[in-house]
């Protein structure tokens, strides 16, 4: 193959002006036009060893789909992606490409990596605009699978099970499906409509979605096993960690889950048109440095009456787990970063939070995570005056689903323990994947688990006769 000339600069993905976009919750990225996508696709070297594919948790055939985009075969490109990943529009937007495919891109060694994420989102959106092709459903296997939760792990698992002819019922605890994609990721990053259309597609393929159904409460895992041949638990990490310091329960102190659920899931930004309120004052402090912290901060700047939003993080910016792009977007939107700053207590008056006492930190020796451990600088305490605090310091698996199911073992952080090969728990026929086995992870890793579990479930169902 003739060597291609490397084009160092990527075609920028059109974005809305920060001054405009902070006024609403609509998507920040406008995405590639067909022309821009084809131009960007040309930059791919079509490397035979494809390190990008190696770096993708679900091994999307990246050079192949990019080639199809270059040739103007957009629908084909989307279908090529869907051989491995049924949610290109979602993953193209929320995957941390810089540490996965784009991080490994050969072009990236000398210039900007190929914008794989933006191309993936483009292909997915394009296919959706012309209508999805339904995959052929084989003869019904007669086997029934219950799926707990309707987030990314469950969606991926359901899609594969349907392809193999199994009957799929998804049980969702909340009143809308989508899991973290709808209660945790704001619309300016991932429009709800995209999640809705993916779920609609699943339903058209035969999946049944039951809302308002809390497995572990409405029915137990044992009861599901009486009705179904197998169960997949993809209930996510729905248990927020709290900063156990003085003043935690003052009014105005939220978990990221509560804050985001109120606003992006219940629509509190439309209050009183909708009934769910959220109280936010003029100054908001967000504790944490991950993607959720960025989502909270960027949600807060969009709320009426909010003047200043701070991100308070105990390490320095280079240790932040959030995606560089998210930090960049947050800064563009006016979020103020207080790094090397650790909250010590929440101060309040008459039961309401009025500030966060913080201490300045410096970086010491590396800790077990390999990052330099932040240590407090004595005497550097100060009070950051705010009227709202949101804690975004991570979350763990929610125990409700498997409470009382003694056969299913759980680890130190409450994560469900599974066989790493099959993702089956110690209770035969019950599988689990995504954040519920990992604590906090990513959409794509969860989807990878969902597919892996689907394969094991299929093998399990075919080897058992009921």
């Amino acid at each position: 193959m003739a060597r291609k000339e490397i084009i160092k600069k990527k075609v920028p993905v059109p974005e809305r002006d920060p001054k405009e976009r902070v006024k609403d919750f609509r998507e920040v990225k406008l995405g590639y036009t067909p022309q821009l996508a084809m131009e960007e696709a040309k930059r791919c070297l079509q490397c035979a060893h494809s390190p990008c594919v190696e770096a993708c948790p679900v091994r999307v055939p990246i050079p192949q789909f990019i080639k199809l985009i270059e040739e103007g075969k957009f629908v084909e490109a989307a279908r090529k992606i869907k051989e491995e990943n049924i949610l290109p529009s979602v993953c193209g937007r929320v995957c941390p490409q810089e540490i996965q495919c784009e991080g490994a891109c050969v072009v990236g060694k000398v210039g900007d990596p190929v914008a794989i994420g933006a191309l993936e989102a483009f292909a997915g959106d394009h296919e959706a605009s012309v209508g999805y092709e339904k995959f052929p459903i084989p003869e019904k296997s007669g086997k029934r699978v219950a799926i707990v939760g309707s987030g990314p792990a469950s969606i991926a698992c359901a899609a594969d099970l349907l392809k193999w002819g199994h009957d799929v019922t998804i049980f969702e605890a909340l009143h809308e499906p989508g899991g973290v994609l709808v209660y945790g990721i704001p619309e300016f990053r991932l429009p709800n409509e995209i999640v809705k259309r993916e779920l609609r597609f699943l339903e058209e393929m035969g999946a049944k979605i039951v809302l308002n159904f809390v497995v572990g409460k409405t029915k137990t895992i044992y009861e599901l096993l009486e009705e179904f041949d197998a169960v997949f638990i993809g209930s996510g990490a729905g248990l927020p960690y709290m900063l156990n310091i003085e003043g935690l329960n003052l009014n105005g102190v939220y978990s990221a889950n509560e804050f985001l659920t109120r606003i992006i899931f219940m629509g509190a930004n439309w209050f009183p048109e909708v009934d769910t309120p959220v109280y936010v004052g003029k100054r908001v402090a967000v504790i944490g440095g991950g993607n959720t912290a960025m989502d909270v901060a960027r949600t807060a700047v969009r709320l009426e009456g909010v003047e200043e939003v701070y991100v308070v993080y105990r390490r320095s910016e280079s240790e932040m787990p959030a995606r560089v792009e998210e930090v960049h977007h947050a800064k563009e939107e006016g979020v103020i970063f207080k790094t090397l700053t650790n909250p010590v207590r929440f101060v309040g008056e008459n039961g309401w939070v009025t500030g966060v006492e913080c201490v300045k930190m410096e970086l010491g020796e590396p800790d077990e995570s390999g990052r330099r451990r932040p240590v407090p600088i004595p005497g550097s305490e100060f009070i950051l005056e705010v009227d709202t605090v949101v804690m975004a310091i991570g979350q763990g698996p929610n125990p409700v689903v498997v409470e009382g199911v003694k056969e299913i073992r759980r680890g130190k952080k409450g994560e469900i323990l599974v066989d790493p090969e099959t993702l089956m728990t110690d209770l035969p026929g019950v599988f689990a994947g995504g954040d519920v086995i990992r604590g906090g992870s990513t959409v794509i890793v969860a989807m990878g688990d969902g597919r892996k579990a689907a394969k094991s479930i299929h093998e399990y169902l075919m080897s058992t006769s009921k």
């Binding site: 605890a173 909340l174 009143h175 209660y183 809302l211 308002n212 159904f213 809390v214 409460k217 409405t218 029915k219 729905g238 248990l239 927020p240 709290m242 156990n244 935690l248 329960n249 009014n251 105005g252 939220y254 978990s255 889950n257 509560e258 659920t261 109120r262 219940m266 629509g267 209050f271 009183p272 048109e273 909708v274 009934d275 769910t276 309120p277 109280y279 039961g351 929610n398 125990p399 409700v400």
Partner: protein, 281 residues
């Protein structure tokens, strides 16, 4: 959709709803609650399951009109349907044969109390119910409690019915008369539950309170309902809603219930201004 198959006005501002929810009815245990969303734009509100009929597939909820959502729900009639009902949530009441149990309920607290009392009797306990109201016209469910309990004491603040005074006055009478009490279970307004806990503490009578904090998801996901119990932060929706009343920080709970007061008032005003076609509109 969850159809309303029965509705009754129990007292001024208090309605009883019987709702078709077969799966919840089958599983509901004393002490548990549901989360209701009245309409597609509604908020998620926790309501205790006051009664259930697994054969008919129905649950009974009690609703006091205090804000927009509850006013809106009170506009719904038999045959209408609620948008969402999910449950049963929370830990069931811990029940055992204690001996003599005194259940203390005020206002809406009678919803959990009724269901809990059913359980208390199933375990073969002697049961005294103390139910408190402001005045005679607000009294409800006395007969329902009479069927369950060995003894029912009704108190009214103004003395217009039953004993004049507060539920704690009745409870104190019982204690001082030398009646052996092995367990007190209370539910109602926070000041009432606090007063009950303060009263039984010096006597060392085990006391449980069914708490009513603000909730969103009701499954431990958001932490809106966090309460301090024995110095530890608990989520009422999954760790409760019942806790050792002697350990609960009631002042904090009271404060947290105020969190959205201003906004709730605004929503209520807006609702009353706009809403028509409802008898209370």
């Amino acid at each position: 959709m969850y159809r309303i198959v029965g509705k009754k006005e129990l007292a001024e501002n208090v309605d009883e709803f019987v709702i078709e929810a077969p799966e919840i009815a089958r599983k509901a245990k004393p002490g548990q609650f549901v989360i209701v969303r009245v309409t597609a734009r509604g908020e998620r509100i926790p309501l205790t399951i006051a009664d259930k009929d697994p054969e008919q597939g129905t649950i009974t909820l009690m609703v006091q009109r205090v804000g927009k959502s509850t006013y809106h729900m009170s506009c719904f009639e038999e045959g209408n349907a609620l948008k969402d009902v999910v449950g049963p949530l929370g830990k069931p009441t811990h029940l055992e044969k204690w001996g003599h149990v005194v259940a203390v309920g005020g206002g809406l607290g009678l919803a959990p109390i009724h269901h809990i009392c059913q359980g208390v009797k199933e375990y073969g306990n002697e049961l005294t119910v103390i139910m408190g109201f402001r005045s005679r016209e607000l009294v409800f469910w006395e007969e329902k409690m009479e069927i369950l309990a060995d003894r029912v004491i009704v108190t009214t603040n103004d003395g217009s019915y039953g004993m004049k005074g507060l539920v704690t006055d009745a409870l104190l009478n019982l204690i001082e008369s030398g009646t052996k009490i092995d367990m007190v279970i209370c539910a109602g307004p926070v000041p009432m539950m606090k007063a009950v806990a303060d009263l039984t503490r010096p006597y060392g009578i085990p006391t449980v309170a069914s708490l009513n904090p603000i909730m969103v998801d009701g499954t431990g996901m958001c932490g809106a309902c966090r309460v301090t119990v024995g110095g530890e932060v608990k989520f009422a929706c999954v760790d409760g809603p019942e806790f050792d009343a002697h350990q609960v920080d009631f002042d904090e709970l009271m404060n947290r219930l105020r969190m959205f007061k201003e906004l709730e008032k605004k929503a209520m005003e807006e609702f009353q201004r706009k809403h028509c076609g409802c008898r209370r509109g």
